[in-house]
Point group: C2
Amino acid sequence: MYEGPVQDLIDELGRLPGVGPKSAQRIAFHLLAAEPADVTRLQESLQKVKEGVVFCDVCGNVSAETTCRICGDSRRDPAVVCVVEEPKDVLAVERTREFKGRYHVLGGALDPLSGVGPDQLRVRELMARIGSDGITEVIIATDPNTEGEATATYLVRMLRDFPGLNVTRLASGLPMGGDLEFADELTLTRALSGRRAV
Amino acid sequence: MYEGPVQDLIDELGRLPGVGPKSAQRIAFHLLAAEPADVTRLQESLQKVKEGVVFCDVCGNVSAETTCRICGDSRRDPAVVCVVEEPKDVLAVERTREFKGRYHVLGGALDPLSGVGPDQLRVRELMARIGSDGITEVIIATDPNTEGEATATYLVRMLRDFPGLNVTRLASGLPMGGDLEFADELTLTRALSGRRAV
């Protein structure tokens, strides 16, 4: 296609998720025309991430320090822990501004076909936390898909043994702003079985 | 949002064209989990592009050497030159496998509102080439939009003064595989006025 360094850059960019050949080309030519300082900034942020990102010792979220901002915040309730799959899920829950507890990031969901078992997730760390930290409620907030449901079921089984611990799960049901008519069968089934008295 | 280096990387990626906040986040977490060698390869290709990409002295296309593969290929007809806006247009014409001449890359199109006049494009280089290289035909293949049309009109006026030089323009008309019913008025007008005897 192109010759030399430009094609190398297009190839490398094309390996990134969600970047097709056309986008890779567009980004490469953008970088070609960009100020060297802009390219340097991108290089430096890649370098820092490569040198190792810090994860919070407590919750496993990406962090600037060994204890993340949320785990270090004394105004957040340490007795309630929301268990999510990925750091981006923490962000999603934080955006609601409704949750005042802390988090536990598993680092994925159970997926035996891809070789992800409980040992690949931060399950042991969760058990240790619950055993020692005075936690009274664990909210399981894994994704509402096959892997997330399997992970939730597994966690519920593991957490049953802790006396006095409330284990809850995010409600399934109709998404707000949606149309009942367009809801899939599974969502509608969940919405029906989870119906509440008003 | 996130803390530290991860957010920096997301911010930098989000500045790239066509990369929204969600894609930037996805790419950043992909790079976080990627092999360090993969990140290094991306960094190195950025470095090479920043250190300066070589452009062909003759046609202005991106190149590995000071003369690009096409300009250095003696089997390509040096008498026919296809004038395009950008390196990616060379690629588009090459994909047809129909053109056996050479190229001239302008480096953009006339766009006075963005401060792009003839001096910002490689117009002077084109005139010098035509004056000395024994070129018999110039095919103007700028984009079929306002800037491309303006550039074509300007080039036609400049090239009129060369005696014995054929100046041609890519045909405008209905795109193949399209529906007449969905063609816009301008395209259909061009297709009508450019109709050919069969």
